[in-house]
Amino acid sequence: MSKQINVALIGNPNTGKTSVFNALTGLNQKVGNYPGITVEKKEGICKLPRGVKAHIIDLPGTYSLNASSLDENVVIELLLNKNDKDYPDVAVVVSDVENLKRNLLLFTQIKDLEIPTILAINMSDRMAYKGISLDIAYLEEELKTKIALISTRKNTGIDELKELITNYKDLSVKPCLQASEIEPTYFNDLRKAFPNQLLYKLWLVITQDVNFGKTDRQTFEAVEDFKTKSKADLKRLQQKETIKRYQFINETLKAGQTIDLKSAKDLRIKLDRILTHKVWGYVIFAFILLLIFQAIYDWSSVPMDFIDSSFASLSEWVKDTLPEGAFTNLLAEGIISGLGGIVIFIPQIAFLFLFISILEESGYMSRVVFLMDRVMRRFGLSGKSVVPLISGTACAIPAIMAARNIESWKERLITILVTPFTTCSARLPVYLIIIALVIPEGRILGLSYQALTLMLLYLIGFGAAVGSAWILNKVLKIKSKSFFVVEMPNYKMPLVKNVALTVLEKTKAFVFGAGKIILAISIVLWFLASYGPGEDFNNAENIVSEQVASENLTEDELHQRIESHKLEHSFIGIAGHAIEPAIRPLGYDWKIGIAIVSSFAAREVFVGTLATIYSVGSDEEETIKNRMAGEVNPILGGPLFNFASGISLLLFYAFAMQCMSTLAIVKRETNTWKWPILQLVIMSTFAYIVALVAFQVLK
C-alpha cells in the first residue's frame, strides 16, 4: 500500500479554501484543535486517481507568511518543521480569481520554502462576468508551478486538481524570485553561517517569533560569524521584500492576466464603471450631496419647530410654576434655553448621519475614496486622506486619529493639519441658525437657497482643506514615499439595524458629549449675565427710572429698559464691551463676541450662549430664532443678524479653529505643541480676515 500524500490547503481568507477542502474530502473530515492552542484544525482524507489517498489539512487563512496572529503562526510553524507529521508533501495555494494579485504574495513566499506547490485559482466561473482572461501556460512558466482553474460553486476543475496532487513529484520546487536580492551581503553572511539550512526558513525565523527544529531567534545571537540586525532594520527589510514580491507579481500579471472592463457583465463592474467614472463619478457624487442637504432641510423642519416651541413652553411653564427667585430664573433662562439650543439640532444631525451611514453600508463610500484619490494627489494628500476628511463631517477628533493609517508622515501631518477645516457636526447648529436668519426661503430648480448655502459651506470647508494641503505640500520640506491601496467591497443593501445603530450612536455622542459642556457653560453664562459689580448694576431700577422719567413708557417697556441696562452692566456685559472694538468691524455686537469666546470650548456652544444671553430678563415665550431675529444693531440700526453680518459669521466659523479638544488631539498625534499652536494662529487669523472682508464688502 502506498504512503498517503500530505496536502496543506493554504490561502488568504475568503478565497473559498474551505469549499475546496469540502470538495476534496466530502464527508471524510474531522475538526479538532492544534495542540495547546484554540486554533481550529480541519483535516480529511481524499481519494485520488490510481488508488492514491491524500491527507488534507485546511490551514487557517493567512495573507502572508509575516505572522500577525496565532492562526498565522500555526501555518508558518507547520511549513517550517519538516519533522512535523503533518508537514506537507505538496501545498495547494487557493486563490480567488478576482484578487489574484493580493493572493500571489503568499504563493511566492511558500515557493521560497521549496515545497512543491500547486496554484488553485478558485471562482473561475466569475471570469466571464468580470471580463478576466488568464494565460495559464505563461503563468505556470513564470510562477514555476501547475495551475488548476476551479469553481467549487459549479464543481469544475476538482478532478484536474486531484490529478495534479497525485503527480506532485513532477512539480518544480524552485522559487519564483530571489528575495535575497533585497540585501545580498546580509543574506550571503546568513548562508555562510548556516550552510545546511534553507535561506528563506532562516529569514522567517529571524523576522518573527517562530522556530523550526532547534533553530529559533536565540540561535542567531549565539553565532559569532553572523551579526543580526536591529528590529527596525529587519522591519525595513521585510517591507523591501514585500515590495520586491509585488513588483514580480505585477509584471507577471501584466502579461498573464487581462481584465476587459468593457466586456464585463457583472453589475458591480457596471456600477463601478459609472460611479468611479472620471466625469460622471464626480457629477453623481455632487448630485447625491445636493439631495442629502435638501433632505436635511426639508425633513427636519417639522420636528425642529416642534422642539423649539416645546423648550420655549417648558421655560415659560417653569417660571409660572416654581416659586419666584434666582434658581427658577437659572432653570428657565439659563439651563432650559441653553439645552434647547442643542436639542433642536437633533433631527438635522440624525438625518446627516443617516445618509452618511447608508453611503458607507452600501459600499459607495469606498468608491468615493477611490474617486477622490485622483483629486487628492494633486494637493499633496493621499486617497486615504479622504477617510479623515469625510469622518471630519462628524467630528475632527476621530478623524484626526483616523489619519494614523496613512503611511507617509508628510501626508499624515498635512491631513491632521487640514482636517479641522471640514464641516464638523458642531458647526452645523451655528450654520443652521444663521442660515435660517439671513438666507431667504426661496427655491431654485426645486432646491432651496438655504440648502444650497449649507452645501456651499461644506464645499468651502473641503476647499479650504485641500487648498491649505496644497500650500503645506509646497512649504513642508519632509521627504517620504506614499502608496494607496483600497479594497472595494461589493455593493449591498444597507442593513436597517446597522444604519439605525450608527445614527443612534452618533446622535447620542453629539448630544451627550456637547450637552454636558453646554449645560455647564449655560449656568456660568447665566450667572455672569444676571449678576454684576457696582452701582450701575445694583441700582439699575433707580437709574433707568430717573433716565426715562420724562418719557411716557408702559410698565413692560420700562421693565425691558431696566433688564437691558442690567445686562450691559453685568459681568458678561463688561467683558463683552471690552472685546467689542475687535469684533465691531466684522459686524458683531458684544453679545456675539461673548458667544464666539465661549464657543472656543466647542463650536456648538455658540447657539446655546446666544440663547442664554437673549433669554436673561425676557418674560416672553419666544423661540431662539425669533429672539435672534429681533436683535437690533446698536450702531448701524436694523437687524443685527443681516445678510452681511450673517455671511461674515458663517465664514468666520467655516475657517476658525474653535475647538479646544481638537487642539489637544493634534498635540497628542504630532507629539509637540508646535503644530496645534500654528494651526490655531493661522486658522483664526485667516477666519478673522475673511469675515472682516465679507462684512465690509457686503454691508
Partner: protein
C-alpha cells in the same frame, strides 16, 4: 427663606459647573490605577 435657598442652589450649580469645566479643559487630576496588574489595562506589562 425661599430667596436664601434659591441663592444657595444657584451658587451650588455654579460651583459644580465651574468644577466640571476646569476638570474638562484646564486641569484634571491623573487617575492612578489601583487595580492589580493582570488585565489588559494599558500598564505596559503585557
Amino acid at each position: 427663606m425661599n430667596t436664601i435657598i434659591q441663592n444657595i442652589l444657584v451658587f451650588a450649580a455654579l460651583g459644580f459647573a465651574l468644577l466640571f469645566l476646569i476638570r474638562k479643559f484646564i486641569w484634571s487630576p491623573k487617575k492612578k490605577s489601583t487595580k492589580a496588574c493582570g488585565g489588559d489595562d494599558g500598564c505596559g506589562c503585557h
